[in-house]
Amino acid sequence: MAIRRNSGLLVEPPSAATGDIAFNLIVFFLVCASTQPDSGRKQQLPKSDQSQQQEQKQENVQVELTRQNVLINGEPTLMKDFIKRMKTKLQGKTRPEDKIVVVKSKPDTPYHHWISVTTRIEEAGGIVTLQLEEEKTVTVE
């Protein structure tokens, strides 16, 4: 008696769990994806020698930051007018060294205010440089 063999063997990988696998992978990607921002703003900080600092004080635009306010060359300025006034101050200055804007902050100036102002300075075409207070040790005899 000839035994008929079923030669058409159909082998399929088990796919019953494919949906679960896909769902889990999506969840892992979403969980592992970082929610922290990785975009921002570059800042070029020109290095200035101490010998040049006195000259810069007189020639360059000075911006002073307090906790909530901003002053351009000693004049209080509203944030909505800041870019316009800064562009006016920088008008006609073509050399990069003339476009340097010296930013001096009060110790309690918050970071978000500092970022807001320095962003506007760069939008107006200025180059931000910081003026920090020097600490000196004085010996009293």
Binding site: P13, Q36, S39, H112, T119
Partner: protein, 133 residues
């Protein structure tokens, strides 16, 4: 007449388990970061027109508790310039990016010395911010 029921053997299909494990390993390795500062709590300041920060070896964080961290390790500000300089080594210009993440309410007396230290070390500073809508 008794009809015998067939006992169905139910097995969870496990043929693809090896592939799944390999893929998950690859995904976690790709997403893992060398600088582990994900545990630090800080809120970014907002700004318009921000752009991608790119890759960087160095990440400096000032968190909401006013603590300074370099690549996840708490560091005094006096040692920051030297530490950044040693990490940057002799990298050419264009590859000396230093990422700075500062909590939005931190005062200038805290973050300005950090910016100065990065400048002294010759790093290219990138402030990490959130897009202002």
């Amino acid at each position: 007449m008794k009809v015998k029921r067939k006992r169905l053997k139910v097995e969870v299909p496990s043929m693809a388990m090896g592939d799944i494990a390999f893929n998950l390993l690859v995904f976690f390795v790709i997403l893992a970061r060398a600088q582990d500062d994900g545990h630090l709590q800080w809120t970014p300041a907002k700004a318009k027109n921000i752009e991608s920060a790119g890759n960087s070896k160095i990440s400096i964080v000032i968190d909401k508790e006013n603590k300074l961290f370099l690549n996840g390790q708490e560091t005094p500000v006096g040692q920051l310039a030297q530490a950044v300089e040693s990490q940057l080594g002799k990298l050419p210009a264009g590859q000396r990016t230093v990422i700075l993440k500062v909590h939005q309410d931190i005062a200038a007396q805290r973050f300005e010395p950090v910016i100065e230290a990065i400048s002294q070390a010759g790093g290219d500073l990138v402030h990490i911010l959130e897009e202002e809508k």
